[in-house]
């Protein structure tokens, strides 16, 4: 199966000041959301910093 079979979903919203913002998500052929982030989290502040910098 080709990875390209993952469908790109784009959802565009307009911010209060008129700028656009586009959410990109990827969907497997069976309709499942395909997520490969290093640390899939719901609270971005809850992660610990793994970087050495």
């Amino acid at each position: 199966m080709s990875k390209a079979s993952e469908k790109i979903n784009k959802r565009q919203v307009v911010m209060a000041d008129g700028r656009y913002l586009i959410f990109y998500t990827f969907e497997a052929p069976d309709g499942r959301r395909s997520s490969h982030c290093a640390h899939p989290i719901t609270d971005a502040k809850a992660a610990t910093r793994p970087s050495k910098n």
């Binding site: 080709s2 913002l21 640390h39 989290i41 971005a44 502040k45 992660a47």
Partner: protein
């Protein structure tokens, strides 16, 4: 205030963008404007974090689709024009503490597809002639926000360095009927000493003519001009070699390696650029673990770079840090 002013000495445009003085500068980790807005928290640029990748218009742009009129008048010697264009921010992850090097190759593969989508969409705008995808990473480069992100500038003209490359590629094609970068790649494969890594579709090279100690280029093996020309196999291979280079950078000094990454693609002004060849360039500012290479008098004032190191030796250092890229998705092992 933003406008484009012509530099008649160099024959190139300079953007003034005074509003950028006000942009957020190195906020604490818990006050990141690129993290998703939290319930009850301060409003950020991103209202939710249920995404793979987010793209939005820069809040402090140097180019805008509907710019204000210039504040100064044009003259014959000093043409001025509105700073029309687009400046986008690309968030690589919802995770503030990640970096592209730390993201799985599958996430980089998604990013390559998003980059291609942005190239296609911005390139279709009638006022855009060049779509420039880049990343500034690390405080050594002047980054003001740590959240992993890159940028895209859609210029209303072909920027000077790209114009110089196009001129060189065209001249080489005119005299040899061959692609300049295809010839460079042949030369690098013959020499072998400056090759850092390769896969079926791409090679990572520390070029013969490197201006920075760890300058690294990614060249496509097939002759094409833009991300949108790639097959799915090539898209996966680009993600793989991207990950290879970034991991080697980080492992070199065991730090999150700073760099500028720039993508060189064909212009989108409707002309034919079949003689051009897609490639990516990384300019890391470090010359050792704790020393920076500065762009000083010769580099900035004369345009001649002085590289304090031998590309062949630095390529060997990076090559020693290459690790296998492992795809987690069961359908993508052909790119491993």
């Amino acid at each position: 205030m933003s406008e484009l002013r012509w530099n008649p000495l160099l024959g190139e445009w300079v953007a003034t963008a005074t509003q950028r003085q006000e942009r957020t500068f190195l906020p604490p980790d818990d006050y990141c404007p690129l993290c998703a807005t939290q319930p009850g928290g301060f409003p950020t640029e991103v209202p939710e974090n249920d995404y793979d990748i987010v793209v939005f218009e820069n809040r402090f742009p140097s180019l805008k689709p509907d710019p204000e009129p210039p504040v100064v008048e044009s003259s014959e010697l000093y043409p001025v024009r509105p700073s029309q264009g687009v400046c986008e921010v690309v968030l690589y992850s919802p995770n503030h503490f990640s970096s592209l090097a730390q993201e799985p190759v599958e996430q980089i593969y998604k990013l390559v597809r998003v980059w291609a989508d942005r190239f296609r969409e911005l390139g279709a705008l009638d006022f855009v002639q060049y779509v420039f995808i880049f990343e500034n990473k690390g405080e050594a480069i002047g980054v003001t926000l740590h959240h992993p992100h890159g940028q895209i500038y859609a210029y209303p003209f072909i920027p000077p360095r790209i114009a110089t490359e196009l001129k060189q590629f065209a001249a080489h094609y005119e005299s040899t009927k061959k692609c300049l970068l295809c010839n460079v790649l042949d030369e690098e494969f013959q020499a072998k000493r400056r090759i850092i890594a390769e896969n079926d579709s791409f090679a990572a090279v520390l070029p013969f003519f490197a201006r920075w100690p760890y300058e690294t280029h990614i060249y496509s093996k097939r002759h094409f001009q833009a991300l949108t020309d790639m097959s799915d196999k090539e898209t996966g291979d680009l993600a793989s070699i991207f990950k290879t280079v970034l991991v080697a950078f980080d492992k070199l000094f065991e730090i999150s390696f700073p760099y500028m990454m720039v993508m060189h693609q064909r212009p989108v002004d409707g002309q034919a650029y079949d003689f051009y060849h897609f490639h990516i360039e990384f300019y890391p500012p470090l010359r050792s673990a704790n020393r920076l290479k500065y762009l000083a008098g010769s580099e900035t004032g004369a345009g001649m770079y002085i590289n304090d190191t031998l590309p062949e030796e630095k390529a060997a250092e990076l090559r020693a840090q290459v690790r296998e890229v492992v795809w987690q998705a069961p359908d993508s092992t052909e790119n491993g």
